[in-house]
Symmetry: C2
Subunit: 146 residues, 2 copies
């Protein structure tokens, strides 16, 4: 048994566990975020968001997209009628806007510190889902002072 002298060095397990739990939660909501972002973009640019187009942009089959859209509907983020294209609920639209803003900020930030554009786009697609408000704010400060 070691006397407990060193206070801070030990990385208390509960904290670490909480961090990993956070990361798991973020991972779980990442897909929904990408979907609403894409749906919002399709609605804005094309006027409609068809499952096939959503699927193509994600690089998955239409069956996968349709099933996921079903979960979005279940979770109150989207709605649609058979064969008629997908729309966002108010909640879905708000989420999409937040997600889009974060996406743009992350990409811009990475580019600003010298990451090649292509890579910035690619990395951002994953990183964005793990950027907290505090970190996003830091990114924005950096961009402002650049």
């Amino acid at each position: 048994m070691v006397a407990m002298h060193m206070v801070e060095q030990d990385s208390a397990p509960p904290d670490e566990a909480a961090r990993h739990a956070s990361a798991r939660t973020a991972r779980a909501s990442a897909l929904a975020q990408d979907y609403v972002e894409i749906i919002a973009d399709l609605l804005a640019r094309e006027g409609e968001a068809r499952p096939t187009d959503i699927a193509r942009r994600l690089g998955v089959t239409h069956a996968t997209a349709i099933k996921t859209i079903g979960r979005l509907k279940r979770d109150g983020l989207a709605h649609s009628k058979p064969y008629r294209g997908v729309f966002l609920t108010e909640a879905g639209h708000e989420l999409a806007q937040r997600v889009r803003a974060r996406h743009l900020t992350v990409v811009a930030f990475l580019a600003a510190i010298g990451v090649p554009p292509q890579v910035a786009e690619a990395d951002a697609e994953g990183i964005e889902h793990h950027v907290s408000d505090a970190t996003l704010a830091a990114f924005e400060r950096f961009l402002a002072n650049a």
Copy 2:
């Protein structure tokens, strides 16, 4: 003044699909990375890596940890004998070192741009898995010139 590149405004679907596919791949390997990182740390600090300790640090049940360790073994990253604690293969050890280095860099970088330490630790736990070599290099350059 920024050079106006005006390259692809259109975000060609195949590229976007590839980016999402990349993010999916990264997401899929994230868990294994966290495991080997924790196992390496336990081995270094305690001399042994027990499933229960691994589970506690991740905030999951021991049953979950044991099943995941089974996948690590299947994938040639770890090995263990019944009731005896977990060890890393050469491949596992190498992965752990890369992962640890990246983790430290990401945390240091976030802290350097003004993210509060606690938040930096939390966000890094997810972000680290989506940081490519090019982005990691950019982080290191930033830290060097800071």
